[in-house]
Symmetry: C3
Subunit: 133 residues, 3 copies
Amino acid sequence: MIHRLEIATSSRAQMVDVTREVQRAVSESGVQEGFCHIYVPHTTAGIAINENADPSVAQDILAVLEKIAPRGGSYRHLEGNADSHIKASIVGSSETVLIEGGKLVLGTWQGLFLCEFDGPRRRRLLVKVVEAA
Amino acid sequence: MIHRLEIATSSRAQMVDVTREVQRAVSESGVQEGFCHIYVPHTTAGIAINENADPSVAQDILAVLEKIAPRGGSYRHLEGNADSHIKASIVGSSETVLIEGGKLVLGTWQGLFLCEFDGPRRRRLLVKVVEAA
Amino acid sequence: MIHRLEIATSSRAQMVDVTREVQRAVSESGVQEGFCHIYVPHTTAGIAINENADPSVAQDILAVLEKIAPRGGSYRHLEGNADSHIKASIVGSSETVLIEGGKLVLGTWQGLFLCEFDGPRRRRLLVKVVEAA
């Protein structure tokens, strides 16, 4: 079974903390020990793990990605979102997080972020929870 | 069981769409629900998920990676492919894709790409298909 | 069961080869066929797979990451390690490696590296070994 979540983003580039939504899918599955795979089925959005205590960390990450692939740069792909595809490729489409005692095993400062690079939009997030001793 | 695919690349830097080959391994496995892990056992090639409708997206990704780590840059590793190692590290060695009804669960525009950074060569791609309700 | 390893790093930015430690966890698990998920529960460290024969490859990777996100750059996050968070996000928090005959399936030149971006510190590495035919 795949849990399909829907996440609304509110600006063109944004990191949305989805830790709570993913934990809810894990809780619903009833799995106590195992892992969970989180997948973004989009080509201009990605998923990343980083600090969720200070929101400026996410802003710094977005700023460096913008420097690597600026929105107004010259690209071959002519739909105005070539930079979004590149940023999504660097960040990646998926993450795998371990589960122990029914909880996502994240570091003290870690959170899961949907990375929007061509918003605002409604995005889907696929979560597969797998039991494994 | 690990499926071992062989992929021939035709230029130094290239993104080769391998979605069909990976789907074939999934179909051969007979697995209906689960996930599949795709692994590149090379240090100058990687694997990425991005748009496979417009080939210019792949060219833009390669162009930005070339800007980050130019082929003729000054590096310590003296085999002429230091940039290839760096590009492979940024893109990553593996991807995990979910399986539903015997099919890879990819977004409408997503494809799986072997990223060649030191070709042309024959590359191996390892695919492990895992059943999971 | 999750294997918890502790790795000491000795400088601010460093790639520490942890292949042997991860293989030991796989051997202890007794799993012959399957895969192993390696996870870094920190926001200023990551994990990467690349060449472990010539140490200059790791130095080149660190140098390019430093160019992308320089230590003394101007960032919003004011703890002096904004660059470390960004580098960790680019490299990623986890890797999945296949297991065959009780051994990690790595390419001839591949090794697993804990990537330290805000050391020296004691870092934890979580390893989950999963059996799968």
